[in-house]
């Protein structure tokens, strides 16, 4: 308990040092020949069109039935190139769990912490039509597309947002934005070609995936996202399966409600269908604190009953690129051994 409190105090005090600014203006000026760095917006390298930045995260977990653990859980480098033309390049290179201190064990790291998280080229034809080639985040739901620690409100991630599909796809994508009836509709159609860029491809769920993603702004505050993907399931001898998802996001004056639902169904047997749903609310408090509550229900297999998971969290965002989080999760019928307990983290976009 003392360790938890100490962790919280350290991260909050450290964060408060950044909170002295009344305002926050990390915006780049028009490109000059000199280099231009802003915290949370990266380094623009003169007039080359290159921007280098990234994010990092430290995490402490005290979970039920597991040794306590402190880790440098993520260090990602975002590297992009955009010189004002139609071709853009983007990459995210990640070190995951590269330094881990586990109770009762020596200092260590994940066996293969380096991963090319994203690496792609975009060709923009118009606002309505663009092409992407390379490795990108699989467009299922909303969370998977903004899953970086500094961008989400909780240290833990709902199962619904990653358990039933591969988080990355390597192949081609056609995407764009159209405005039917004055409402914004973002679409993407994509297909996987290879998994050679995946360091952990043997654990990957997908093979020869193809799908679409629609992101519709119902109102200025409300977005509805629909996703569908058909893929060969590696775990089941490449049997074709489908996953459909829907999610809703509402935000107004820093209040947020978000929810995602996915259903994964096999073409041969219904007994292994998976589904999950979560709902999360975020309420702003004074002094740049936020309180978050989440409920998730996940069914990993029809032969078992559903797992229920409740999470209560507190987040402190003293400046936009920095977030400190602490949370406690409780499960019910947790036969899937979903992590329960206390977790805290500090994450920074740089």
């Amino acid at each position: 308990m003392r360790v938890r409190l100490l962790c919280l105090v350290v991260v909050i005090v450290a964060s408060s040092l950044f909170a002295g600014h009344r305002g926050w203006a990390a915006e780049a000026s028009v490109p000059q020949s000199s280099w231009d760095y802003h915290l949370g917006k990266g380094l623009r390298v003169g007039t080359t069109g290159i921007t280098v930045g990234g994010y990092g995260s430290l995490r402490y977990e005290d979970l039920h039935d597991r040794p306590r653990e402190f880790s440098a859980s993520a260090l990602s480098m975002l590297l992009s190139w955009d010189n004002g033309g139609r071709l853009h390049l983007f990459s995210e290179l990640e070190l995951e769990d590269f330094a881990v201190v586990r109770e009762g064990r020596e200092f260590g790291s994940r066996s293969d912490p380096f991963e090319v998280e994203r690496l792609y080229a975009d060709v923009e034809v118009s606002d309505a039509l663009n092409f992407r080639v390379g490795k990108f985040l699989t467009p299922v739901g909303r969370w998977n597309l903004i899953h970086a620690d500094p961008l989400v409100w909780t240290t833990s991630r709902p199962l619904t947002t990653f358990h039933s599909f591969s988080q990355n796809t390597t192949g081609g994508m056609l995407y764009g934005t159209v405005t039917p009836y004055g409402k914004e509709l973002k679409y993407s159609l994509y297909a996987e070609v290879t998994d050679e860029l995946d360091a952990d491809r043997h654990e990957k769920l997908f093979k020869q995936a193809a799908g679409f993603h629609l992101d519709y702004h119902i109102t200025e505050a409300t977005t509805l996202v629909l996703s569908y993907v058909n893929f060969g399931s590696k775990a089941k001898g490449e049997v074709r399966e489908s996953l459909a998802g829907a999610d809703l996001f509402w935000t107004r004056r820093r209040f947020e409600i978000t929810g995602e639902f996915v259903y994964r169904v096999g073409e041969t047997s219904r007994s292994t269908d998976q589904w999950g749903i979560f709902v999360q609310g975020t309420v702003p408090l004074p002094a740049k604190f936020f309180v978050i509550g989440r409920y998730e229900c996940f069914s990993p297999d029809r032969s078992f009953s559903e797992v229920h998971l409740w999470t209560a969290a507190l987040a402190f965002r003293p400046i936009p690129p920095l977030i400190v989080k602490a949370e406690y999760s409780v499960g019910h019928r947790n036969h899937a051994n979903v992590p329960e307990g206390f977790a805290t983290s500090v994450s920074l976009l740089f």
Binding site: G23, W24, A25, E27, A28, S29, V30, P31, G40, K41, G42, T51, G53, Y55, L78, S80, D82, G84, G85, H88, F90, E124, S126, D127, L145, I146, A148, P150, L151, T177, T179, G182, E184, E220, R253, R254, P320, P321, L349
Partner: protein, 152 residues
């Protein structure tokens, strides 16, 4: 004492009134370019970096004033429905995807110079700052609902 209090109150009131009070905000592009049509909704999409191309195929380069500039705050509230600091979460998400917010210029004069010399650029200034080097796409009324934004 009362005189001092009244004087100070008046002084603070005057400070709080934007220098352009009553003036329209002029949304401008280069004078030599073909005049594109632009609604308030399209302007919002341009400044959120969701719309990147003019109809003639020119890349759009929007420029902003600093986040604490009164005209920027008025423009942001009128067009984007939020103050600059309320959009930081949005820009964090965009940064993760390699999309950057519009570049910032320090003054209206700098905006005029940049827009006048950059194909596809778009900016905003007070009506009285408009010169012959730029053309006005849209006027926004600072004291009324921005739905009344007018093309002239």
């Amino acid at each position: 004492m009362r005189f001092v209090v009244i004087s100070l109150s008046l002084w603070w009131t005057l400070l709080a009134i934007p220098v352009w009070a009553g003036e329209h905000i002029a949304v401008v592009t280069r004078a030599s370019a073909a005049k594109p049509s632009c609604s308030k909704a399209e302007l919002a999409r341009i400044y959120l970096r969701k719309k990147s191309w003019w109809d003639d195929g020119t890349r759009i380069t929007p420029v902003n004033l600093p986040a604490d500039h009164p005209l920027r705050r008025s423009f942001s509230q009128a067009v984007l429905g939020a103050l600059p600091e309320e959009l930081e979460t949005y820009w964090n998400d965009q940064y993760f995807h390699g999309v950057m917010p519009p570049h910032v210029l320090t003054s209206e004069e700098a905006v005029i110079r940049f827009v006048a010399s950059t194909p596809g650029a778009i900016g905003y200034v007070t009506e009285r700052a408009v010169t012959e080097e730029v053309q006005v796409l849209l006027f926004l009324s600072p004291d009324t609902d921005t739905e009344k934004a007018t093309n002239r």
